[in-house]
């Protein structure tokens, strides 16, 4: 409890110190509201195939036009926020948890464990992750769960590398040494001191990870590897591409919203980083 409170106090301090972080969080809250209240916000049922086929924005109450199938683009975008956000957040969380645990483990225990983990991290950083994700999704199927899992399972190395460095420096600090000499077990030290104290840069990196995962999902959808049963912004761009000449609105708006949501996460991530090292700004 005490630990959580401390982390909370520190986060509050960060929010105060960075305007960017504040703005990012406000926008994020807005997006969350859209995600939660999608059914009441959307003017139409996004799965409903209406009679207005490919009408331009502003026709018959279709603010952003309709698709070739007669679906309302605005409603699709509102519902699509769910897929983007879910995939982004879940896969970034998977990657954050794996990265934190492996990195902390390697950095704290050192020796052979560290050597093996570092080598795995290095290899992963040198292989083209996007194509690995692509291959796996192509062969294993493109359900949303698969996409989340694969992105999460392939993007942890940057988190692990960060956490490893953190753990290596934190374990030399006095409070950790005294905890060890007071007889706390290694596992207790790892979870009580090393991870909570090294977590902040990982949180910032994971926020950036959400943005990257959203972009990855969009790219997969664009390659036809999105979940066919879910409306996603990437898929909207993919489908709109064929109707570019007659229905530019299909691709354009979906892309704009991807850009916006990615920027929100960049803002939060950059803001966190800034709050962590205000020195960067001074130079």
């Amino acid at each position: 409890m005490e630990k959580i409170k401390k982390v909370g106090v520190r986060l509050a301090g960060m929010v105060r110190s960075s305007m960017q972080l504040r703005m990012g969080l406000i926008f994020f809250a807005l997006v969350l509201l859209v995600v939660i209240f999608a059914p009441s916000l959307a003017p139409f049922d996004p799965y409903d195939l209406g009679d207005d086929l490919l009408v331009p924005p502003g026709t018959n109450g279709h603010w952003l036009g309709t698709t070739n199938m007669g679906q309302d683009v605005l409603s699709m975008i509102i519902y699509g926020s769910r897929a983007s956000l879910a995939i982004g957040i879940v896969s970034a969380l998977i990657s954050g948890v794996i990265g934190t645990l492996l990195g902390a483990f390697a950095g704290f225990y050192g020796g052979k464990v560290d050597k093996v983990v570092s080598e795995i991290i290095n290899i992963f950083l040198m292989i083209p992750t996007f194509f690995l994700i692509l291959i796996i999704v192509a062969l294993f199927g493109s359900s949303m769960i698969n996409v989340m899992l694969v992105i999460g399972l392939t993007s942890w190395p940057s988190n692990a590398r960060m956490m490893r460095v953190q753990a290596m420096s934190i374990k030399e600090r006095t409070f950790v040494k005294s905890a060890i000499s007071m007889g706390e077990t290694k596992r207790q030290v790892l979870f009580k001191y090393i991870i909570p104290n090294g977590l902040f840069p990982i949180i910032a990196n994971t926020t950036m990870g959400v943005a990257k995962a959203i972009l990855t999902e969009a790219s997969l959808s664009f390659l036809g590897l999105g979940d066919p049963n879910v409306i996603s912004w990437g898929q909207m761009i993919y489908e709109g591409k064929q109707y570019l000449a007659t229905g530019w609105w299909m691709s354009t708006f979906a892309g704009l919203f991807i850009m916006l949501i990615v920027m929100i996460f960049y803002m939060i991530g950059d803001g966190l980083n800034f709050a962590l090292n205000p020195k960067m700004k001074k130079i």
Partner: protein, 321 residues
């Protein structure tokens, strides 16, 4: 130096092996019969299945199978594509050139433009132009690259009708000589612009922060206090020091030179490896897909080593042992 080189080559080799292993594991674990995946489609004939079983030793123990798989690969045999009815390796090599041309040119333009803007912004930090550049870079960095490509098509091709949008040459005209070159260049403008635009933010940011960091270094103060002109300090000393991170990023991008343009190739139907991959995905030609993936991974591992060597040559602080 030799030892360093050797160590890097061993690492690259290890990564290639790892990628192959990963590839193999994916094939084995994927739902469905591996013979079907290796055949490339769902209903291979009994003869083909028997041939593949024999070729890859699929009736043998796992380690024999893996060994067969590796040795076959190292012979340059990546199997056949059922879609094109050709060996995968020759299909890929036919298309590598187009990909290299597009992403090579874009990579060079991006590093030139991005780092020039970054140099300016780092030197004039906080001024109006710096803020404008930074804002634009932020937005470009958040865009899906393929969407930007689509938007460029919408503006410059569909609406303004200035440039062609599809392919690399106008086949119907059958140009030769200079006309052919001009034709290719025209077809390249939009995909190239897209690739450059999405790569600029990385160079811009890294250059800007690198310049700012170097400018805050003690040695800049030393040179200032010797009375050296700001211009000389910047052009000679800050520049070379700030260059190193740019080289790293450029190198990493070069490593992806075959694969970095995949999505953009698809948007513009540029006849490179990307389009090949796209077709293999949509037609479920797994053999072809795996081949493209292997080739990409190997080229990335290889280029990473080249980058390391260039870096070692540029930065005297890196020790070779």
């Amino acid at each position: 130096m030799k030892k360093y080189l050797l160590k890097r080559i061993v690492t690259a080799f290890g990564i290639v092996l790892f990628v192959i292993l990963l590839n193999y594991v994916i094939i084995r674990l994927a739902p469905g019969d591996p013979v079907r995946i290796m055949a490339g489609f769902d209903n291979p004939s009994q003869e083909l299945m028997d041939a593949l079983t024999k070729k890859y030793g699929l009736d043998q123990p796992l380690y024999v199978q893996f060994w067969r798989y590796i040795t076959t690969l190292f012979k340059g045999d990546m199997g056949d594509s059922y879609l094109y009815n050709q060996p995968v390796s020759s299909l890929i090599f036919e298309r590598v050139g187009a990909s290299l041309l597009l992403s090579g040119v874009s990579a060079v333009l991006a590093v030139l433009i991005g780092s020039t803007l970054g140099l300016y912004a780092g030197r004039h930090h906080g001024k109006a132009l710096d803020r404008t550049f930074s804002g634009v870079a932020y937005m470009l960095n958040a865009m899906p690259s393929f969407w930007l490509g689509i938007m460029l098509i919408l503006i410059f091709a569909s609406t303004l009708k200035w440039l062609p949008t599809q392919g690399m040459v106008n086949i119907r005209k059958g140009y030769t000589g200079w006309a052919y070159v001009v034709d290719v260049l025209q077809h390249m403008v939009l995909p190239c612009a897209t690739l450059v635009a999405v790569q600029i933010p990385t160079y811009f940011r890294i250059t800007k922060s690198s310049v700012m960091q170097v400018m805050a270094e003690e040695f800049v103060t030393t040179f200032r206090v010797t009375g050296m002109s700001e211009r000389k300090i910047f052009n000679k000393y800050v520049l070379k020091n700030a260059l190193l991170p740019i080289v790293t990023v450029f190198g990493i991008n070069l490593a992806y030179v075959i694969s970095g343009s995949t999505l953009i190739e698809i948007v513009f139907s540029w006849p490179g490896v990307g389009v090949l991959m796209y077709r293999s995905i949509s037609m479920r030609d797994y053999n072809l897909l795996m081949g493209v993936y292997l080739l990409i991974s190997i080229s990335v591992a290889f280029m990473m080593i080249v980058v390391d060597l260039i870096y070692a040559w540029l930065d005297p602080r890196i020790r070779y042992d």
